[in-house]
């Protein structure tokens, strides 16, 4: 196992040295709710420049999803700057932001959000298509195989179990070839056993050179992280690497 602090090179050739850099400086995200202002994120500074398995940990409502959305340029900060792979998202045009999403990050959602009208394979191919990869079907087949669902290619979402659906969702994200994976509570709707399988899969991606940011309220999960960012009431209250390196996934239980 590599040293936790040492950055790994990005797997994707397109992502140069800047390819996986995430820089948040003085980021605030406020929501006006009625008369009150909800500070979902408040003066957050975060820099991720390594290929690693990063876990953002926090209680419900602490701002984890908001953070992920900002990194993925689904949302814009109220103040501060967000840079993704060297692109300053806050001042970027709509087209640039779309391009950044298309070529840099890939989302994995708590509730999967597979396209119900597409088969497992087609959902995965969607990722390859969007990123404009060559031979998208071949890529999709390989990736689906790699998450262990080669035999489920022709199934529709409703014909798959939750864990299988999430694996398809991960495959879809991987098929883009993008260097950063953003996963919001990826195990939230899954039972323990399936959840662990999903974590293994995600961790393997980090080991293969991707930057994987997993958001969770489950402290157990943070034990297997290379780096843990703790959020509370919209602020980063801790940013550390587990002493003695990440625990083995087999040691987890919740």
């Amino acid at each position: 196992m590599e040293g936790v602090a040492e950055p790994r090179p990005a797997v994707d050739a397109r992502a140069g040295s800047e390819g996986t850099r995430i820089d948040l400086d003085g980021v605030c995200r406020y929501f006006q709710v009625g008369d009150t202002v909800v500070k979902a994120l408040d003066d957050v500074n975060l820099h991720v420049d390594e290929s690693a398995f990063v876990v953002a940990l926090g209680a419900s409502g602490s701002g984890k999803t908001t953070l992920l959305n900002l990194i993925g340029s689904l949302d814009a900060p109220t103040a501060g700057t967000v840079r993704l792979a060297g692109v300053e998202l806050t001042t970027a045009s709509r087209a640039e932001r779309t391009r950044a999403r298309r070529s840099t990050v890939s989302f994995i959602f708590q509730s999967f959000n597979l396209f119900p009208g597409l088969t497992a394979l087609e959902n995965v191919q969607f990722g390859a298509d969007v990123a404009g990869r060559d031979a998208p079907e071949t890529v999709a087949r390989q990736v689906l195989e790699s998450v262990g669902l080669g035999d489920r290619a022709r199934h529709f979402a409703h014909q798959l179990s939750g864990g299988e659906q999430q694996r398809v969702a991960i495959a879809r994200a991987l098929a883009t070839g993008n260097p950063i994976l953003l996963a919001d509570e990826p195990t939230g709707e899954l039972d323990f056993h399936t959840g662990v399988q999903i974590l293994e899969l995600l961790r393997a991606q980090a080991e293969a050179g991707k930057t994987v940011i997993v958001v969770t309220h489950n402290r157990e999960i943070s034990r297997v992280a290379d780096r843990v960012i703790e959020l509370s009431s919209g602020r980063i209250v801790a940013d550390h690497r587990p002493v003695g390196g990440p625990a083995a996934i087999a040691d987890l239980h919740w």
Binding site: T65, T66, N69, G72, L74, D75, R94, A95, T98, R99, A100, R101, R102, S103, S106, F107, F109, Q110, S111, F112, N113, L114, F115, P116, G117, L118, T119, E122, Q125, F126, G127, A128, D129, V130, A131, P136, E137, A140, R154, F156, A157, H158, Q159, G162, Q165, T176, E189
Partner: protein, 808 residues
């Protein structure tokens, strides 16, 4: 009850949250009920306006008319009336001389018409003239060259006060005013042997009795008397006395006694109301049904969105009926909103409808008050409609297991539909290009619902526009038949039967404007007089006539040629016998007899009145060797108008008309329908746009989560938009095709039932023009296809995170 307040508040919030959809449903209902109210108000307006107009001008109760061509001395008819036992019941009586004439005037004006001369005794007029411009005739005009021209005739021919006219016989008359008289409120045809007339092409001039006597060269003669009765007088008794007095008059007076109910204009103006109402009721109902389906489509979506909350209510043990309260209250609020808007729409719709009628039927008085009862009816319908529309989705929502209703996320996205079957069917291109087609197939119920909403709107549109097409096609068929050869011919009608070798025929033949002449007969007849009673105008064409009817069945000679429609109405075919009541010449004059004739063939003219007999078969008429019509071909270098102008100087010529003028006359017969249908078509177009648009934007809303996922993966908005457009276009095409088919079926059904009731004299066959079909297709598909564009702004501003969180 505090609880009631809660439910009301809650559904009020539902309403506010979904106000665009709610407004759309309300508008759809408003268009439906408003059209209903507007269209059905016209019946009441027409009845009231007819009543007022006929009363205003002292429309005659009884009329004595001498047969065409004969007259009697002035004063004789009045004396007969004065001699009646109950002469005291007569309020006023007026002798008249009514003669057919040709009228020439400024510009190239040359039309057939009649002169109506009435004595100018003091006292109330009978069949008075309501002067709209210029002045009325007074005692000073007795015998002078002053006339009041029929308002519509003057209007359509740009006659003004001061216009100079020349009538048959060469008399010159000056128009001193324009006005309307009850017998001529509308011109219905039949005058001068012309079955179809317009007020543009048929001029009526009102003058003093002595003026007309002078113009017609009939000094001291009258041929007509009209009288009104005192209120409460027994019309039947006076009529019986009068009829008896005429019979015993010496020398004999072969006069026809008719009542007010026999006045063509009177009969048609009242009869049409009922027939038309049938048609409008169906059009209005169609719009309502379209509105019902559309609002069902919309409410279903609203209820489906409440599915989860209903489930939560179930989980909390709320009784089912109470769970139904909220969506039903929602429906009630839509209903109230719809009805309120509907009253406005009804009012707005009634403005163009009123204009159509006022422009179409020239009455001196138009009463178009708000029809409270019709609006109340419409309001009730409008209130019930949303309940009907919402009942089904509510019923469905309440039937499910609570746990299913609550279930969220991936588990709720139950697979169904045809997508699995068709996963092998692939659209070329990138994988996600499959999404639109798959989405359509994956949720067949929803797809059908959307398609149905669009289809119902298109059905209504296609039916209304199709009625216009059908009428247009009918006229085209008539035109094709009447103009297939010799379109330059002029049909000349004589006022009496003239010997073929007599002066009149010879005079016309020798006119330099006349190239060739065919003399024939045109006999009014009634087929199956005791049963169907189909009115016919039987033409006896000379052998080898330039124009001959086309045959669709049978032989050209050996019997009667009937229009297909007449044969169908009579239930006869080629070779069958039919009883025909017709005039027959005898030594002492014309009498009415019945003859059994064989149907020799059928012709395609949709106007069922036209019938033909070959000269041999015409022997039964006892009119051999005479003619009362002539078909004249202009001489080389002369026009039909030249011929008509020359005929003006020939005595006994009652009218001269080109076939084109007859076709124009038919066209006006249908114009009233066309006018109203145009209004209805406009409304249904609006309805179709509204429905198509809303259905689509709802469908787009339902895809918001998928769209957000695509956007999160960096797919550009325009690609997502394009995919949405593809999806909606597929559904739109489905709905539009269904709507066109449905419209055609409704049209066929209406042609076979309602239209043949309303217009029995015309054989209409349902037809849709290519323009209508293509137009409906483009409209349906374009509207739904473009609807996503209007969501562009919304999509660009999509808050992707919240859209993704929808179910989390």
């Amino acid at each position: 009850m505090a609880q009631t307040g809660l439910w009301l508040r809650w559904s009020w919030r539902d309403l506010r949250r979904r106000w665009p959809v709610v407004t759309a449903i309300a508008l759809v209902i408003a268009l439906g009920t408003g059209t209903y109210a507007g269209l059905l108000s016209t019946s009441a307006w027409r009845t009231q306006s007819n009543d007022a107009s006929f009363a205003l001008l002292n429309t005659h109760d009884l009329r004595v008319a001498l047969p065409s061509g004969s007259t009697t001395e002035e004063g004789r008819l009045a004396a007969v009336v004065a001699s009646l036992e109950h002469a005291g019941d007569v309020a006023a009586a007026r002798e008249r001389l009514v003669v057919p004439t040709q009228i020439a005037g400024p510009g190239d004006l040359l039309v057939t018409g009649e002169l109506v001369g009435t004595d100018t005794l003091p006292g109330a007029a009978v069949d008075g003239v309501h002067v709209t411009r210029g002045r009325a005739l007074g005692a000073a005009d007795d015998g002078a060259g002053a006339v009041v021209a029929d308002e519509s005739f003057a209007d359509k021919n740009h006659l003004t006060v001061g216009s100079e006219l020349t009538v048959s016989g060469g008399a010159r008359l000056e128009v001193v005013g324009r006005g309307q008289s009850p017998e001529y409120f509308i011109v219905t045809g039949g005058q001068g042997g012309l079955p179809f007339l317009t007020q543009k092409g048929y001029g009526v001039l009102f003058a003093s009795l002595h003026t007309v006597q002078r113009a017609a060269g009939a000094d001291g003669q009258v041929n007509d008397l009209v009288l009104t009765l005192r209120p409460g007088a027994d019309r039947a008794r006076v009529a019986a006395e009068l009829s008896r007095a005429l019979e015993i008059a010496q020398p004999p007076l072969a006069a026809d006694l008719t009542t007010r109910d026999d006045i063509d204009a009177y009969r048609v103006l009242y009869d049409d109301i009922d027939g038309d109402e049938q048609l409008w009721r169906i059009v209005a109902l169609l719009v309502l049904v379209g509105a019902a389906f559309a609002s069902m489509n919309l409410t279903t979506r609203v209820v489906e969105a409440q599915r989860r909350e209903i489930g939560i209510g179930m989980a909390l043990g709320v009784p089912t009926w109470r769970l139904a309260v909220r969506p039903l209250l929602f429906g009630a609020q839509i209903a109230v909103l719809g009805v309120l808007l509907g009253l406005g729409v009804g009012w707005a719709v009634s403005i163009p409808l009123r204009d159509v009628f006022v422009g179409m039927i020239p009455l001196p008085i138009w009463r178009t008050p708000l029809q409270a009862d019709v609006f109340a009816q419409a309001a009730v319908l409008g209130l019930l409609l949303p309940f009907v529309a919402i009942a089904w989705p509510v019923w469905r929502a309440l039937l499910v297991q609570p746990v299913e209703a609550i279930r969220v996320g991936h588990l709720a996205a139950r697979g169904s539909g045809l997508a699995p079957l068709l996963s092998r069917l692939r659209v070329p291109g990138r994988g996600y290009r499959q999404i639109p087609v798959r989405n359509v197939l994956r949720t067949p119920r929803r797809t059908l619902l959307t398609a149905f909403g669009i289809a119902s709107a298109i059905t209504t549109l296609v039916t209304t526009v199709g009625l216009l097409d059908t009428f247009g096609a009918t006229l085209d068929r008539a035109e094709a038949e009447m103009l297939h050869t010799a379109p330059d011919r002029v049909s000349v009608a004589l006022d009496t039967f003239q010997p073929l070798d007599g002066d009149v025929v010879r005079t016309v033949e020798q006119l330099p404007e006349v190239g060739s002449l065919e003399a024939g007969l045109r006999i009014p007849a009634v087929a199956d007089p005791d049963g169907e009673g189909v009115d016919l105008l039987v033409d006896v064409l000379p052998a080898g006539a330039r124009w001959q009817p086309t045959l669709v069945d049978g032989q050209p000679d050996g019997g009667l040629l009937l229009a297909e429609e007449a044969a169908a109405d009579l239930g006869v075919g080629v070779g069958d016998a039919v009883t025909v009541e017709h005039p027959q010449a005898t030594a002492t004059g014309l009498r009415t007899v019945r003859t059994t004739m064989v149907v020799a063939g059928l012709h395609p003219n949709p106007m069922r009145v036209f019938a033909y007999l070959d000269p041999a078969a015409a022997d039964a008429l006892g009119l051999a060797g005479t003619a009362n019509v002539m078909s004249v071909t202009p001489a080389e270098g002369r026009s039909a108008d030249d011929v008509r102008r020359a005929l003006l100087e020939v005595p006994h010529v009652a009218s001269a008309q080109t076939p084109q003028a007859a076709i124009d006359g038919m066209r006006t017969t249908l114009d009233e329908f066309v006018g109203i249908l145009n209004v209805a078509a406009l409304i249904t177009l609006l309805l179709a746009l509204l429905i198509a648009f809303n259905t689509t934007s709802i469908a787009v809303d339902e895809r918001s989560r998928e769209h957000a996922t695509m956007l999160a993966f960096g797919l550009p908005v325009r690609t997502v938009l394009g995919m949405t457009a593809v999806e909606t276009v597929i559904v739109g095409a489905l709905g539009t095709l269904g709507g066109i088919g449905g419209g055609y079926l409704v049209l066929r059904w209406m042609s076979a039932t309602t239209i043949s009731d309303v217009l029995p004299e015309v054989g209409v066959t349902a037809s849709l023009s290519a323009t209508t079909v293509v137009g409906a297709l483009l409209l349906g598909i374009a509207t739904v296809g473009l609807a996503p564009l209007f969501t562009l702004r919304r999509m660009r501003r999509t808050d992707i995170p919240s859209a993704l969180r929808v179910m989390e």
